[in-house]
């Protein structure tokens, strides 16, 4: 982990020097260290600091600060040409609206915090258990946690209800994995059990590292009764985990509140700003400069004027006393104009933006099409500041589990003895599409059935009821061969705790069909077979590992037959089958292909009946192997291999790793919108890649897929460069513009421009290589390579790495990133990305609480982005363009007037018009525009994802558009000033009275301005709702009403010096000139805009314009049916991964650790079972004598805890499998060998997969084209034992010899070849890249012909071997 980034490393090193001391049950001592309590605070304000803090934050906004300064300027009478209220009123309104919004937001956060902080927990205090709130927990307290309770803080496990101090936890909130994990306390504390006296007397001292964010690392020393015990992270229960399957446990609080690993991993909650905000800040600065320039010009003008004219005009207007010369006057005028022209920076800009965003957020909350009925959750916009950014997303970083998939495994189909079940057929023999209405199979005959399980093929149940021997045997094997644990709190209501959801699905299926796995002890398994309880004696579990890809159990049936049941990856199992079931294998293989075609995860099930003598002999060997110190792993697998052969095929299962609804469709649409989707997952590469194919992130017709799996800087760099060489060879040349750019501009921050590859590529990188790639000198290489790929899969990622990838993208690319995830492991990523989307799923609330938008299904993302995001963006852009335009037109009028008013800072308008212009007269139309406008409706937005494109490049509002607004504003103000000016000159009303007085002129100009901007917005509005009409025309009407009010006799007589425009409205509004002026101004201001908009798509047609034209054509001629986008069917992929993320529970089960003292219960059930214990002594040395037992227990206890520790940790399972369990030299050596070069192994919870060389030597080839291995296929009857040196290929693997292959054969070939025993040495779980296993004379050609993976295969394969 320390490798992950340099800065992090430095900080960590610093931190590591600090050490945390604490003593149990000693609050006095612990309080001296000043550790925080367990309160979590995410809120920003309190009642007292709200006002100052909020105002401070608000005034950090450039515009607000500017208006504050203006306010002070206006208080200086010498320079203020405007009344104070012109600024104060708008500023007050703006500030209070924002403050109210902030306050509401913060109240919500307070409520959330309070809810968490006030949860209750049991604390051990002076020999008693006291209930206390979470927030009162202190470091050093001992707390009691119960089953299904979330862990309060990071606690050191002391003891639990389970034997050996074992505690099961679910870490979904932390790392997103839903399988159970085991933690074990050290023996000295597990002896405390639930003895409150002992617990409160426990005064162990802990010395451990200071708080950090490493989830899988903890080192410390417990000193108790003068002895030191080392602590590691297997003894630590982290906050956010949930206790499962454990009635109670006690723990010593180590880290609290902000120090917990959960909170440390959350990262800082930063206030997210959109690109638009940044752009606005820049533009506001530009405006300042522009403003300063104008003021400067006007001040100079004033100086000249005073010199030339003003000086001589002093008879009529003497200079103020403090004005000694025209220079002084000019300086004062500079500031006066600064105040007058302040409306260049629209004060209501920010508040309007906030309102618009709020409104558009509400639409998200209100959208029925993003409401997920099954969970009763509507979409939720948790922040209201990021809406328009939803319309600009370029990169989506997605979690896999729970986001793309439902994380639900469903037993979908099976093939038993050559008959396929599960594809529901109707009476006519047609396949039935499973939908909500499809009739489910009735399981009422089985009282123990799981009501949630559904199956749609009745034939299987009929077969079951008929008592079909094979079907029974199939389900018996499913109900026996697993490591699931059952819980039966209420009679008949079984709850299975499976280590992986796949296994759970299989056992649940067996349960429903009538083979109910009810309970187990270390030596027995109780199964209710069609209502009849039977107890099988568990003789051995041949556990699962990622290398073996299979697991077996050996049981003694009640009929005293020894049976082996095996399930595993078909590729492996089919080699171990007895030759007699060859024909069945053919049929089953075809079925498996069918299953794989549908993207199901498949397993093969087989059995073998072993004769007793053989078993006894084997059992002896097995226990010897178990006890051997040298090469134990090898010996074990040899022993296993002896047993697992000549298997009789039973059938195959197909489990659906259920994608969420509509995921592939969504991804297809997002891809069409040129949004790149990356999957960042902590899961295995295999699983991730499979899902990537299933949901269209990778496509079959991609030009290549690169796999980055380097183990050090150099190999990673090479891999990256090779990939880039393939995608865009010129990008490696010195002359490439990006390279030259990078060479010349090394300083930060710089942006890497978009590079276009020569095709569609995908890339897979694991967290381990990523750790190197993210280091300083490689990150640019990584970024450039990765950004050229269409789809990217990052697997085995830590939460922090997810964030780092996002950060990297943010740092070097001017793009909007979106992270979507559902678990606590996604929180850092969600926070890091520009937009964080949380899936309100099963994995807790962490992601949701930290997200900006919460949706309940991945598929809603398309609606969120393409409909809401797009609209928000378009609206925001229209709003900004219009807003700047109207303010420029409004303000620049003063500039023109200055040339005719001696630069004396005389305003053109009435002060009340200035006060109300932004706030009242023009605010509602623009709000209606930016709340209701739709350029195209939602159907078209989704139908043409290409319409999303302008947002990604920010085409609708950028600096260029801003300049256009400025130019338009200048032009409009020019027209609006000079037309009235020239018109009223020398003109009079019908009574001969002149109309060129200042007040009439003001009125004419401001009315004309208002008409022009209103017509302009009417033109911008494409979607005229009733509200738009009311707001737009209503505002104009309202202006006239206000006009008559402000200029009415009553008001003006009451405040003659404030309202000076008495009677102007009455006298001026009936002038024909005025209306002619307005018409002419409108025509002159608007026609050019219409003309431009008409001509622009003709001259410079953009893609969007073309689509718009098509849409308009279709809306006008509805006969043309829009073609539906059809989802291409993906090619079958046999999922070779088996059923577990981790090594199985086997060892644990047979060790008996998990079994509470159920022997007595079981004995009652099955007295024989208890008596058969000694038989197994040979299998596992288990001394019976109490004295010896105790002695042995110590040694074995430590040994086991070691094993368990590794097993439960997140570290790679293969390491665990192969790591030496004793201190044997050979084992150690081998472990060293295996770990060589895996620098990150200790820090990175990833599985160091060795992939340096082509991993399937059985079919591997050198570029020269000579086979390295005799092709002679061994006959299938002799399923080779997994001897390391002899490569095996079954006869039906034509491995490169026959070019005419069916797809199915091809797959089989691949699988078989890479499943060869060599894999034991070079394990790889990735089937797709094993295409390299083909032997061909000319690799590239032959592979092209043979291998459906085509070009990408070459891309990884050739350079590596060359």
């Amino acid at each position: 982990m320390a490798k992950i980034n340099n800065s992090g490393q430095r900080i960590l090193r610093k931190k590591e020097k600090q050490v945390r001391y604490l003593q149990a049950n000693s609050r006095e001592l612990n309080s001296t260290f000043g550790y925080p309590n367990n309160t979590i605070k995410t809120s920003r304000y309190s009642v007292f600091n709200f006002l100052p803090l909020n105002l401070f934050e608000q005034f950090q906004r450039l515009a607000n600060a500017y208006f504050l300064i203006l306010l002070f300027l206006q208080l200086i009478p010498q320079i203020s040409p405007l009344a104070w209220y012109t600024t104060v009123i708008p500023l007050m309104v703006v500030l209070s609206i924002t403050a109210v919004k902030d306050a509401i937001d913060d109240v919500k956060r307070h409520q959330n915090d309070n809810h968490v902080n006030n949860r209750s927990v049991l604390v051990v205090m002076n020999g008693r258990i006291k209930e206390d709130k979470w927030m009162n927990i202190q470091v050093g307290d001992i707390i009691k946690l119960k089953n299904n309770q979330p862990v309060t803080a990071d606690v050191l496990l002391l003891s639990s209800s389970e034997p050996y101090g074992l505690t099961y936890i679910e870490t979904a909130e932390l790392d997103g994995e839903t399988n159970l994990k085991v933690k074990q306390s050290i023996s000295v504390t597990s002896n405390l059990e639930d003895n409150l006296g002992l617990l409160s007397a426990f005064d162990g001292k802990v010395r451990c590292e200071s708080p950090n964010n490493k989830l899988d690392k903890f080192t410390g020393i417990l000193t108790f009764k003068g002895k030191n015990y080392t602590l590691d992270h297997d003894k630590l229960l982290l906050r956010g985990c949930i206790i499962r399957n454990t009635d109670w446990c006690y723990g010593l609080v180590i880290y609290t509140g902000p120090d917990t690993k959960l909170m440390q991993n959350c990262g800082k909650s930063t206030f997210k700003r959109t690109h638009m905000d940044h752009l606005l800040n820049v533009l506001v600065l530009w405006i300042f400069l522009f403003l300063g320039g104008m003021c400067f010009i006007l001040a100079i003008g004033h100086g000249i004027w005073e010199n030339k004219k003003g000086y001589y005009f002093q008879d009529f207007l003497p200079w103020e006393e403090y004005v000694s010369s025209s220079v002084v006057s000019a300086i004062l005028t500079f500031w006066s104009y600064f105040i007058i022209l302040n409306t260049m920076v629209p004060i209501s800009l920010y508040v309007s933006v906030e309102i618009i965003r709020l409104g558009n957020s509400c639409y998200i909350n209100w959208d029925r099409k993003m409401y997920y009925a099954p969970k009763n959750t509507p979409a939720q916009a948790r922040t209201t500041t990021l809406n328009e950014e939803l319309g600009q997303v370029k990169y989506v970083f997605s979690d896999k589990t729970g986001t793309l998939t439902q994380n639900i495994m469903i037993f979908n189909k099976c093939s038993i003895n050559g008959i396929i079940y599960g594809c529901g057929y109707d009476k006519n023999g047609q396949k039935v599409k499973v939908s909500e209405e499809t009739e489910k199979v009735d399981f009422s005959y089985n009282k123990l059935a799981d009501p949630k399980f559904s199956f749609y093929d009745n034939t299987l149940v009929e077969a079951m009821k008929k008592g079909d021997h094979w079907v029974h045997l199939f389900f018996l094997s499913l109900s026996l061969c697993h490591t699931v644990m059952s819980e039966e709190k209420v009679e008949g209501k079984l709850v299975y705790q499976a280590q992986s959801p796949d296994e759970g699905a299989l056992v649940t299926a067996a349960r429903n069909f009538g083979f109910v796995f009810r309970s187990r002890t270390s030596e027995t398994i109780m199964v209710v077979e069609m209502g009849e309880t039977k107890v099988y004696q568990l003789l051995a579990i041949l556990d699962f590992s990622n290398v073996r890809k299979r697991m077996s159990v050996i049981v003694r049936t009640p009929e005293d037959r020894v049976m082996l049941f095996c399930k595993g990856a078909d590729t492996i199992l089919c080699q171990l089958l007895h030759p007699s079931c060859r024909s069945l294998r053919e049929v089953t293989m075809e079925h498996l292909d069918d299953f794989a075609f549908e993207g199901l995860r498949t397993l093969m099930v087989a059995y073998r009946e072993v004769d007793n003598a053989f078993y006894q002999a084997w059992s002896k060997k097995h226990s010897e192997a178990c006890l051997s110190l040298e090469n134990r792993e090898d010996k074990m697998s040899d022993v296993y291999g002896e047993m697992e052969k000549d298997l009789m095929l039973l059938g195959a299962t197909a489990i659906e790793d259920k994608l969420q609804d509509g995921v592939p469709e969504t991804i297809t649409i997002l891809n069409k919108a040129k949004i790149k989707i990356w999957v960042l997952t902590g899961d295995k590469q295999e699983t991730a890649v499979n899902i990537a194919y299933a949901c269209n992130i990778f496509e079959e017709e991609m030009d290549g897929i690169f796999i980055m799996e380097g183990k050090n800087d150099e190999t990673v760099r090479q891999e990256l460069r090779l990939a880039r060489n393939k995608m865009k060879p010129e990008s490696l040349l010195e002359s490439d513009p990006v390279n030259t750019y990078l060479n010349t501009k090394p300083q930060m921050p710089f942006r890497i421009p978009e590079e276009v590859p020569n095709g569609n590529y995908g890339l897979i990188i694991n967290g381990y290589s990523l750790a190197y790639a993210l280091e300083g000198n490689l990150e640019l290489e990584l970024l450039r390579t990765v950004c050229m790929c269409k789809g990217v899969i990052c697997c085995r990622m830590t939460p922090l790495q997810k964030a780092q990838v996002v950060e990297l993208m943010k740092r070097y690319k001017q793009v909007v990133t979106l992270a979507i995830g559902d678990g606590a492991n996604d929180v850092s990523m969600i926070k890091a990305a520009h937009i964080g989307v949380g899936i309100t799923g099963q994995e807790g609330m962490q992601a949701m609480l930290n997200s900006d938008y919460a949706i309940s299904q991945f598929r809603y993302l398309q609606r969120l982005l393409l409909v809401h995001g797009r609209w928000s963006y378009n609206r925001m852009c229209k709003f900004l363009s219009y807003f700047f335009y109207k303010n420029f037109a409004f303000t620049l009028m003063h500039f023109w007037y200055a040339f005719f008013s001696g630069f004396s800072a005389q305003t053109v308008y009435d002060t009340w018009f200035i006060t109300f212009y932004n706030l009242v007269y023009t605010s509602l139309p623009v709000l209606s525009l930016s709340l209701f406008d739709q350029d195209v409706n939602e159907t078209w937005s989704l139908r043409f994802p290409e319409l999303y494109d302008p947002g990604q490049h920010n085409l609708y509002f950028n600096k260029k558009e801003f300049v256009k607004c400025l130019v338009r504003g200048i032009y409009s103000s020019f027209v609006l000033f000079f037309i009235p000016m020239r018109t009223i000159h020398n003109s009079m009303d019908s009574d001969g009275k002149e109309i060129s007085d200042y007040q009439s002129f003001s009125l004419i100009v401001q009315t004309a301005l208002l008409c022009v901007v209103t017509v302009q917005i009417a033109l911008d509005t494409t979607y005229w709702t009733l509200i738009s009409h009311i707001f737009t025309w209503g505002s104009l009407g309202f202006y006239f009403c206000i006009l008559f009010l402000l200029y009415s006799d009553g008001l003006c007589l009451m405040f003659p010096n404030v309202f000076q425009f008495l009677g102007v409205a009455r006298n001026t509004l009936n002038l024909p000139q005025m209306w002619l002026i307005i018409i002419l101004s409108v025509v002159l201001c608007i026609l050019p805009v219409i003309g431009y908009r008409f001509l622009k798509p003709l001259f410079w047609p953009a893609d969007v314009d073309k689509i718009m034209n098509r849409i308009h054509l279709w809306t006008r001629h509805p006969l043309l049916p829009p073609t539906q986008t059809k989802l291409r069917h993906t090619r079958p992929r046999r999922s070779a991964y088996a059923f577990s993320h981790k090594q199985g529970f086997g060892a644990l089960i047979t060790s008996g650790k998990t079994m509470k003292d159920k022997q007595a219960v079981l004995a009652a059930h099955h007295p024989k079972g208890a008596g058969q214990g000694p038989q197994k002594a040979g299998l596992r040395p288990k001394p019976r004598g109490s004295g010896r037992r105790k002695a042995l227990r110590v040694t074995r206890g430590t040994h086991r805890s070691e094993q368990l520790g590794r097993w439960a940790s997140t570290a790679g399972p293969e390491d665990r499998t192969n790591a030496p369990s004793g201190g044997a030299a050979g084992g150690k050596a081998r472990s060293d060998h295996r770990l060589r070069g895996c620098r990150g192994a200790r820090t990175l919870p990833t599985r160091p997969e060795r992939r340096g060389a082509p991993a399937c030597p059985s079919c591997s080839t050198t570029p020269g084209g000579r086979e390295t291995r005799p092709p002679a296929p061994q006959p299938p009857p002799a399923p080779s034992p997994p001897a390391r040196s002899s490569p095996t290929v079954s006869s039906d693997c034509p491995c490169g010899d026959t070019p005419q292959l069916t797809r199915a054969q091809l797959y089989r070939c691949i699988h078989i070849s890479f499943a060869g025993p060599e894999r034991a040495q070079r394990p790889s779980s990735q089937p797709r890249d094993r295409g390299g296993g083909f032997r061909t004379a000319s690799p590239s050609q032959a592979v092209g012909a043979l291998c459906p993976f085509g070009p990408w295969f070459r891309s990884w394969y050739l350079p590596e071997s060359g």
Binding site: P378, S987, I1027, I1079, G1091
Partner: protein
């Protein structure tokens, strides 16, 4: 987990958002689309309209008769006299004969016009007290600086720079019936202000005798007479209600402006307007303009519905109409030319 499930089942009320058109963004609406025909016909129509209006305006403006005589230079000696402020009490008159070749039909209005007089300076415009002019509080000279109080502290009425700088030339138009007899053209000095100004905005303090009412105030420094002695002939035309005063107080928007001075009283010879013939302006020259390089002129003008003799609006309309028409033609050409290209894109 189970507890959570229970809780959700208890929250049985659906959180399904309302199905209202507003919330679902489905409000019935008209979609505004800029179609080619719409835009082009709009351009055509606008062009026609503007051309029409423009021509009408030009024609009506042409029908106006107007005479303007700049008299700063003609009355050069008077102008010179006024340059020295100490000569304020010396009267200077100046007669300007002119010949009217055509009869000025209908109502004729006489204006004085100032060039380069900045009535729109910020401090100038501000320098008045509306509350004082309302007659309620003569002593309210709030924003009148620098002419709010005299040296001895008495408030000035009317205060402020505007009032102080009132145009105080007297212009009398004489009609020479023949070479020997000249008669003064009868002029009305009423009805030259806005009704609202005369009857609402400006009010004299309530008192039978204006001089008593204005007691305690002093006249503006440049004024020769007090505010209540402005019109000796018509006692009603005094104080703040003096028409010339009210006209002056309505500050002009631009440095060149004209203000209505008198209107023709259509009696005797003048029922049809001003007949052609010899006239002369007899001007009592008081108002100094040469100091700030300004100019004064006197204007006689008739009237039409569209205001004065200003051709600008008519020309602007005509030009706009013509350009719009041209633009619509060229746009149509471009549209027709590029239409095929566009169709190609659509079919793509």
């Amino acid at each position: 987990m189970t507890a959570k499930m229970k809780r959700t089942s208890e929250e049985s009320q659906s959180r399904l958002p309302d199905n209202s058109a507003l919330k679902q963004q489905q409000l019935p609406a008209y979609r505004l689309q800029l179609t080619a025909t719409g835009v082009l016909s709009g351009f055509f129509a606008t062009g026609v309209f503007c051309l029409g209006v423009g021509i009408i305006l030009i024609l009506s403006a042409k029908s106006i008769k107007e005479i303007e005589i700049k008299y700063t230079k003609i009355c050069g000696n008077c102008a010179k006299l006024r340059e020295d402020a100490t000569n304020f009490d010396k009267e200077c008159t100046c007669s300007i004969p002119f010949y009217l070749s055509e009869t000025m039909q209908g109502n004729v209005y006489m204006y004085y016009k100032l060039y380069g007089f900045y009535q729109n300076l910020y401090r100038y415009i501000l320098s008045r007290s509306n509350s004082q002019l309302l007659g309620t509080d003569l002593k309210d000279v709030g924003t009148c600086a620098p002419f709010s109080k005299s040296h001895d502290g008495t408030p000035i009425a009317p205060c402020g720079a505007i009032a102080n700088s009132i145009f105080n030339d007297t212009i009398i138009l004489s009609y020479n019936l023949n070479s020997s007899i000249s008669i003064e053209v009868p002029m009305l000095r009423s009805g030259i202000t806005w009704w609202t100004d005369k009857y609402v905005k400006f009010q004299n303090p309530r008192s039978k005798n204006l001089s008593i009412a204005f007691a305690g105030t002093t006249k503006p420094p440049s004024w020769v007479k007090s505010v209540y002695e402005l019109d000796k002939e018509d006692p009603e035309n005094n104080g703040f209600l003096n028409d010339d005063f009210i006209v002056w107080m309505r500050a002009a928007a631009f440095p060149t402006f004209k203000k209505l001075y008198r209107r023709l009283n259509r009696i005797q010879y003048f029922t049809e307007g001003l007949p052609a013939g010899n006239y002369s302006f007899n001007i009592t020259y008081n108002f100094p303009v040469t100091r700030f390089r300004g100019e004064k002129s006197v204007v006689l003008s008739t009237l039409t519905w569209s205001g004065g003799s200003n051709l600008f609006l008519g020309l602007a309309y005509t030009v706009t109409g013509a350009v719009t028409w041209l633009a619509s033609f060229s746009m149509m050409a471009i549209h027709l030319m590029l239409k095929d290209r566009k169709m190609f894109f659509i079919q793509q």
